[in-house]
């Protein structure tokens, strides 16, 4: 069925059945491949996108529930001030290794800084717990969030 999705500021008409995870519409239909498939069961966070400014796992978010929602993916998060700061911090600190989880890490980090501009290490660990990184770049993710916080404060 035809559905209308508001994504990265544009309205897209997509062909998807109810029950289709947003992840697969973003990746396979809209060909925005920055959002990653990691587990399909919302336990790794690689597929994190923002719906109305809140991070959600797109593998467990269904297209029929997104009418009127504003969806933002990694491709557009840099247009946001916090997103740009997180991406700058990620580059400054060379947070990434394989990089496959990092779109999701960035989207979650932006979510954290949006609600808590100066998180402590413990608050970062708590908020980012659900974003797995098999390369174990966690130390730099933590530092990256703190660096982004500094950039935003400056």
């Amino acid at each position: 069925m035809a559905l209308s999705l508001k994504l990265n500021g544009e309205t897209h008409t997509v062909d998807a059945e109810p029950g289709t995870p947003l992840l697969w519409v973003i990746r396979d239909e809209l060909k925005l491949t920055g959002t990653k498939f990691g587990c399909g069961v919302a336990s790794c966070g690689a597929c994190t996108v923002h719906v109305n400014g809140e991070p959600v796992r797109s593998c467990q978010t269904y297209v029929e529930d997104l009418e009127d929602a504003e969806i933002t993916t990694i491709e557009a998060i840099g247009d946001d001030k916090i997103g740009a700061a997180v991406q700058q911090a990620w580059v400054e600190l060379d947070v990434v290794q394989c990089g496959y989880c990092q779109s999701g890490q960035v989207m979650s980090a932006v979510g954290l800084l949006s609600e808590n501009p100066k998180p402590s290490a413990e608050e970062i660990d708590e908020y980012m717990w659900g974003n797995a990184c098999r390369c174990a770049t966690y130390q730099r993710i933590r530092a990256g969030v703190q660096r982004a916080s500094e950039i935003l404060e400056a």
């Binding site: 059945e17 289709t20 995870p21 697969w24 990746r27 396979d28 239909e29 060909k31 925005l32 491949t33 920055g34 959002t35 990653k36 498939f37 990691g38 587990c39 399909g40 069961v41 336990s43 790794c44 690689a46 993916t73 990694i74 491709e75 840099g78 997180v86 991406q87 990620w90 580059v91 060379d94 947070v95 990434v96 290794q97 394989c98 990089g99 496959y100 989880c101 990092q102 779109s103 960035v106 290490a121 413990e122 970062i124 660990d125 708590e126 980012m128 717990w129 974003n131 797995a132 990184c133 098999r134 390369c135 174990a136 770049t137 966690y138 130390q139 730099r140 993710i141 933590r142």
Partner: protein, 728 residues
């Protein structure tokens, strides 16, 4: 690890006017330069007419850093900045882009990417520099010795020009037979802390393209329904329910009957259609054992006469020395099956061109593997098969299967179609956890005798487990006189000067498909060595650092002094012996893949209510650190990988089927699990050695030793939850 730089067989390109300087190795091993149609020369360095330098990277990038390290080496010798150099992954060509440590085989593994490329890439960069300098010298009528290239600018006296100006002329010149390499004292980029990763920005903004991101026009997505346990055979299927799924195309039994391929228009349709497929299996040849049974077989083998006397020791004499010792420490250990679980589930895409060529899009760790397999499957000569290497979302060994498992699976799923549509094979996380290859389960039993002064008088060590290498094309590399070195590496060949060691090995029967897993045998051998050294030190009433150093005391042996060096540095940086109140420290040191790593883990809490990993301090000696921050990152990641799995990771089997299925029951390390990691690099003038794996082996034993000091609990089975340890 050097290549022939003679001019013999030098082949000049025909179209010099196109002004592209390409320097690299030709099939006969000689460095060669040619113009743009020299693409068939498969070079390491390419310079476009606009001066853009491209390093051709022969190793895939799974996060370990060659897409930064190899361009760094080229840029260093050539005289350009890191902003002036780009990278491209090399095509599949085992004659030109082989790993110099693997023979005529292109591949990444064993922490060798920088180690084997070091001189080759320096020479390629230096040759390009000399040709540009000679071209400028001729044009300007000056002596080449007075010409330099700094930050991409060629200069002699008051004359300057960007390198682009002399690319065309340089491509006409002779390749220097022996290009002068920069003296390490001149290095600007190698060892420079300010050099950043080349792939950071694209991985933080979603632009990085992994194989999973390939969308070819008209492609189908294929998923394979595989048997619950290895060895099942597909006899038939019923797809009537799958047909209800919009986007489902059809299904076909793979030619080898190892599963049924489901084809769909997109990934979600493939996932659903596969779920609904009913398959008739013949499970008569499938594995049926439970992992408890496999463990019992391994542990029983430790009590029997070993199949192989690995180091040809007189076991009876060693046993007698231990029997007569003042103190005897005896401990058995068990290491379970482990999955690699890279973040990007396995996948690759295969297409056929109008000319009948086969193109594979893959995060290819060992391109030569699928390249050879595809020659057989498609009955094509090697030049009709192309492999396009994409960024890889992790591997930890999983993408380097000797039988090119998933690439072959994709090819089989492709050949049963009419080949008119590209096929993208996608594994789900469940496929990865349940149908993959695993770190083999291993058991160890060690007996160590100490004299009255607390010195080791004998070390009897038995190992039992499934050989990784036997029965694979890599057998001849690793198996000698029946002993698979990868089963016992890091024990008898440790730099420790341990008197009276007897090492036995027993191969146990095949339980499942096994594979190297970040640091291979060192995952278990390093653990046992370092836990036993710690127990021995504690039994002797000696400090664990001092005790280890007494077995690394031969200053004339670089192997011992380098291992001692990292041990001392880690202890110093961790303020060894002075943990904060309520905390305990544990230490471990291990050599693997030519590098030395020592780690101090500091813990608090208690096993029942939860151990907290407060800090890991690491010292590494990997020779020259080409990109120090990448080295540091690899230590951080290696530590996390080692610790994450011993905390709570294991694969178990029931009736031959894997019990775990996804991250909820194969729980990865999470951000809060290790509070801090601090890495120190030993300054060195030695040639670079590996960093991808050496950070992993010491992490788990250092943690176990810390927990033992804190609580007295001795950790003998993994994961540590099996020993009653919980973590916070």
């Amino acid at each position: 690890m050097t290549i022939n730089t003679s001019r013999r067989g030098f082949l000049k390109g025909a179209a010099a006017a196109s002004a592209v300087l390409i320097v690299g190795a030709r099939p006969d091993g000689a460095l060669a330069a040619a113009s743009s149609d020299g693409a068939q020369l498969n070079p390491f360095v390419k310079i476009d007419a606009d001066g853009t330098v491209t390093a051709i990277v022969k190793h895939f990038e799974m996060g370990q850093g060659p897409a930064t390290g190899l361009p760094t080496i080229i840029a260093e010798e050539l005289g350009v900045t890191m902003d002036q150099i780009e990278y491209e992954f090399a095509p599949s060509d085992p004659q030109v882009y082989n790993n110099l440590l693997f023979g005529p085989f292109q591949g990444t593994g064993g922490s060798t990417a920088i180690a084997n490329s070091w001189m080759q890439y320096r020479q390629a960069g230096a040759a390009a520099r000399e040709m540009l300098i000679n071209a400028a010298a001729q044009s300007w009528g000056v002596d080449p010795s007075g010409v330099s290239i700094v930050d991409g600018i060629i200069a002699a006296g008051d004359k300057t020009a960007p390198i682009a100006e002399f690319v065309a002329a340089a491509s006409e010149l002779e390749v220097p037979a022996e290009p002068r390499l920069n003296d390490p004292s001149e290095f600007r980029l190698i060892g420079n802390e300010s050099v950043r990763r080349k792939d950071s920005a694209i991985k933080g903004n979603g632009q990085a393209k992994f194989a999973m991101d390939v969308h070819l026009p008209n492609q189908m997505v294929a998923m394979i329904k595989r048997p619950e346990s290895r060895g099942g055979i597909a006899l038939g299927f019923d797809d009537s329910a799958s047909k209800e799924i919009k986007g489902y195309i059809n299904a076909a039994i793979l030619p080898n009957q190892a599963g049924v391929a489901v084809y769909a228009e997109n990934t979600w349709a493939a996932i659903q259609a596969r779920d609904m497929l009913e398959i008739e299996w013949d499970m008569s040849a499938a594995e049926t054992r439970d992992s408890d049974q496999i463990k019992a077989e391994i542990m029983a083998a430790l009590d029997a006469e070993p199949e192989f006397n690995v180091n040809q020791a007189d076991a009876a004499t060693v046993a007698a020395a231990i029997d007569g010792a003042d103190t005897v420490i005896e401990q058995s250990f068990y290491f379970p099956l482990l999955a690699h679980a890279p973040m990007e589930p396995l996948n690759c895409t295969i297409e056929e061109t109008a000319e009948g060529d086969i193109i594979l899009h893959d995060g290819a760790q060992m391109p030569t593997g699928p390249h050879m397999a595809y020659q057989q499957i498609f009955q094509l000569p090697p030049e009709k098969i192309q492999i396009k290497t994409m960024l890889a979302g992790g591997s930890f060994g999983r993408r380097a299967t000797p039988d090119a498992d998933y690439q072959v699976e994709a090819a089989l799923a492709f050949v049963v179609t009419d080949r008119s549509r590209p096929v993208k094979l996608v594994w789900t996380r469940e496929d990865d956890i349940r149908s993959g290859y695993y770190r083999p389960a291993f058991g160890h039993k060690a007996r160590v005798g100490l004299d009255a002064d607390g010195n080791i008088v004998g070390w009897q060590h038995q190992v039992a487990g499934q050989s990784i290498m036997k029965g694979t094309p890599f057998e001849s590399f690793s198996v000698h006189d029946g002993v698979d070195h990868s089963s016992i590496e890091g024990i008898a060949d440790s730099p420790y000067n341990i008197p009276g060691m007897a090492l036995g090995l027993t191969d146990t029967p095949k339980a499942t498909s096994v594979l190297w897993w970040r640091s291979v045998g060192h995952t278990h051998t390093g653990y046992v060595m370092e836990v036993m050294m710690d127990l021995a030190a504690k039994a002797a009433g000696r400090d664990p650092v001092e005790f280890r150093l007494s077995y690394l005391a031969d200053g004339s042996d670089p192997d011992q002094s380098r291992k001692a060096g990292v041990l001392k540095l880690a202890a110093e940086k961790a303020n060894w012996g002075n943990p904060a109140d309520g905390r305990a420290q544990g230490i471990a040191v291990h050599k693997s893949f030519g590098s030395y790593a020592a780690q101090v883990v500091e813990v608090s809490g208690d096993p029942e209510s939860g151990i907290k990993i407060e800090k890991v301090t690491c010292a590494v000696d990997c020779g020259i650190a080409v990109n120090p921050d990448v080295v540091r990152a690899q230590m951080e990641g290696g530590i996390g990988y080692g610790i994450g799995h011993v905390m709570r990771g294991q694969i178990t089997l029931t009736g031959g089927a894997v019990d775990q299925s996804n991250f909820p029951d194969y729980e990865p390390l999470r951000i809060g699990d290790i509070a801090a990691i601090d890495v120190h690099i030993v300054p060195s003038a030695e040639a670079p050695t590996g960093v991808g794996e050496p950070g992993t082996p010491p992490a788990a034993p250092a943690l176990a030793n810390a927990i033992n000091t804190l609580s007295g609990v001795q950790i003998a089975a993994h994961p540590m939850t099996e020993d009653g340890i919980s973590f916070v």
